[in-house]
């Protein structure tokens, strides 16, 4: 089913925000919509959006690829996105991430066997002074977790696991 068939009202609302000759600008909100249910954007959804906005599929895919908040693969229920950019690195982000990996037994980019957490390293999250910092992205939206330690993080993960069970 196409996006417009599935969410007719929301699609209409989104498209109405932009003048018809600039309808391509609706690509970002439409991608969010497409991602809401599955946690990632399917190839079919990208095709669908491309057709709706009269742009090429490659253009849509590039936008998905560029932003760390869009995903084109099914991964864990929650994405834990740790900033490892320079300012955070200076506050120990690398070490934090390494320890987290060791605790979870997975590498950066991998998902825990129970499918709850996918660990990722990302660019600046605009909270440089509160590193180590990460955001979780999941069904309940995006949440920031600042001044984190590995212990605090493991507690959070346990809680997420429980709620997912």
């Amino acid at each position: 089913m196409s996006l417009a068939e599935k969410y007719p009202k929301e699609v209409k609302q989104i498209l109405a925000k932009y003048p018809p000759e600039h309808k391509r600008s609706a690509v970002m909100p439409l991608l969010y919509l497409a991602q809401r249910e599955e946690g990632y954007i399917t190839k079919a959804a990208m095709q669908d959006i491309a057709r709706m906005l009269d742009i090429s599929e490659t253009d849509v895919a590039s936008i998905v690829g560029f932003y760390t908040l869009y995903h084109d693969k099914k991964e864990g229920k929650y994405r834990m996105q740790v900033c490892t950019d320079l300012p955070c690195a200076l506050r120990g982000a690398d070490e934090f991430l390494d320890n987290l990996c060791a605790n979870l037994g997975i590498k950066v980019g991998e998902t825990t066997p129970d499918g709850v957490i996918t660990l990722e390293a990302v660019m600046c999250l605009a909270a440089c002074d509160k590193a180590p910092v990460f955001q979780t992205q999941g069904p309940d939206g995006i949440k920031y977790h600042e001044n984190m330690t590995v212990d605090k993080t493991m507690e959070l993960i346990e809680a997420l696991r429980k709620s997912s069970a």
Partner: protein, 815 residues
Amino acid sequence: MAKQVTLTIDGKQVTVPEGTLVADAAKMAGIDIPVFCHHPKLEPVGMCRMCLVEIGRPVRDRATGQFVMENGAPKIQFMPKLETACTNKVEEGMVVLTRSQKAVEGQKGTIEFLLTSHPLDCPICDKGGECPLQNLTVAYGPGKSRFLYDEKMHLDKQVPLGELIWLDRERCIQCARCIRFQNEIAGDPVIGFDERGRATQIVSFSDPGFDSVFSGNTTDICPVGALTTSDFRFGARPWELQAHASICTQCPVGCNTTLNTRREAKSGGRIVVKRVMPRQNEDVNEIWICDKGRFAYHYTEGKQRLTRPMIRKDGKLTRASWDAATKLAAENFQKAKKNFVILASGRLSNEDLFNLKSLAEHADGKAYIYSHMGGGELTSLVGVGEGTNFGSMGAGTTIVVVASDLYEEAPVWYLRIKQAAARGANLIVMNARETKLDRYASFTVRYAYGDEVKAVSDLAKKGKIGDTFLKSENAVILYGSDGLGVSGSAALASACAKLLHDNGFTGRPNNGLIGVWGRANDQGAWEMGFEVEEDLAKAFKGKTVYIAGADPVADDPKLAKALEGAEFVAVQDVMTTATTEIADVVLPAQAFTEREGTLTSGERRVQRFYPAVPVTGEAKADFAITSQIARHMGIVLEGTSVSAVFDILAASVKSFEGLTYARLAEVRPQWPIVGRSDLYYGGTTYENTQGMGAQLSAAAGRGEKVSIPKVEKEALVRPKEKELLAVPVTKLYDRGTTILPSELLHERIGEAKVILHPETAKSLGVEEDQKVSVSFNGVNGEAAVKLTDTISVGVALIPRSMGLAIREPVAVKVK
């Protein structure tokens, strides 16, 4: 003329038009500022930082706006930081330092950064030897890197973006030239960036991958070895290659090309063509060619090449001497008297066609051109002439395209016309279906198949469209054969010629009629006076036929049958075809890669091509073969020197008057400058050193009285009620003899198709991709159904040369 601006670059005074970018201004003054992302044909983006320079601007007094003087000269203030020469426009009094210590440090730094993730696999890289990254690293790099080799980013090295273009993700320096070319120039935005930062990489999500007929050009302008063609990759090193100027023989655009050749063990010690590259001609193809031109040359080298003359003996073709073969042909031609028919195609050069036409005249025979399109004689009368150039069309010029899908039929014209529209030309696209060019049109006119003539005749009366057309300073009309046969397109040509003629759009540069022909030199044949015959089958029956460069037997079972009933058939071709198989005498011709000659493009530009590889077997040039036959008939035709034939031709055919073989080889300075080892990098396109050609005059331009034949409206076929009308259309990649031997194009060529509107398909009870039987006018065949809602209901589009012999619109049964 644009306002001029004077500035100083590295102490040199430079005067350039206002709006010029500093990097380009420097190049005009002979100073190479190193660039990667900047390309003079693309919009500036400032992505790579290679072109960092120091820029100073004169200080102005705020109150008076005058320059502040210091020691008798304007006071110059330099910016504290380096700036990019590719994004800053020149300003009066500007001072640019490209080699100051600060600039050099900046350039060094950029190279060091770019190399942090580059694999440095130059020894096995196709670009090695013509690679700007290599060149700039040597010229501007720091020599050493402070980065850790082990921390390089590793990405996939062998990624097919489609079956024609391969990507090495590690080598990419993210300049986005390829993406910008596809967006801005080709209009096919089918490649883009995925990810970000060091992981940024090129992707294509189209189906088929990298779905653009211009894809090969990205490999020319990619400043590293990231993009390569499947045809050439790992094929040779650039420094082993010889370069020979040539002309593309695949369509009427006549793109200037360079054939790169090398002698190699792999080919048994022969010299072979390794790749086809664009050669700059800003009046024709700029620095681009399409993928058909780049990849379809393989027919010149295949096993199917004819190497020796043959004569049919006891029903079998057997080897013969040139003398015996030409004598046999001559005897039969002579015997035939008025029953002598020549069929020649636009694959031949002007000189070949001229000799054939002369032979027909001397021997009292007929000379036909093998074309599915008529009306060519009108392009000699009111065609475009001297000084016509799509590159100079803009505001004030109307370009009408009617019954043609230029993207498929003449890709580089599509590209040039799209740009003319962007410069303000008034583009009117008239077709019975949607085409890619519609997107750039000021007006699109949609008519039903069969209403072509009416649509053109009514154009001037059509309110706003008519007004803009009539008010234009200049107008050209490109007419084609989408959905039309010989008589239909001839009628359309008359209607177009009349419209142009009645409104004074002839006889001046950038005015006149252009035919979108099926072959490269159809225009030449029309100039020479060849005629087109609608019913070739009838014309062949019982006649003595001399066929050159055409394969009617494979194209149409009806013609095959007619040739069976011919008295005698002589066939001259570069390779074995279904037609040579039935011939009484076979005359092997040289491929265009093996000889010289001239071709006349659809814009009526005569251009020279040059020999690149040795002759195959005993093959001879077409004009020489014809001359040898003529000699046996007691007719003297020049048979040794191409330039001599050209001189005779220029003296006998009016539109060629005044042209000389030498004049065709003249070149003029062109912009952008594309020296191939430049540090300011225009691409691997070749510089034009061997001729930009010259245009013919048209009767209207010579001031002769022009009369346009009556428009034969009855020639057009309309779908009848409840009837499905099959119409012929042209696709870029078809099963033609000059394309099919290129195996790498097979996926793009695909199978025989019949294209329907979903509603038509529904009413016929057929589905997408279903194999159906198609029958019309005695032709029966199979084809796969393709659906599109860009065409109208009630018609079935059948691509030409794809296995179903469709010559004109005809009622069809699809089951």
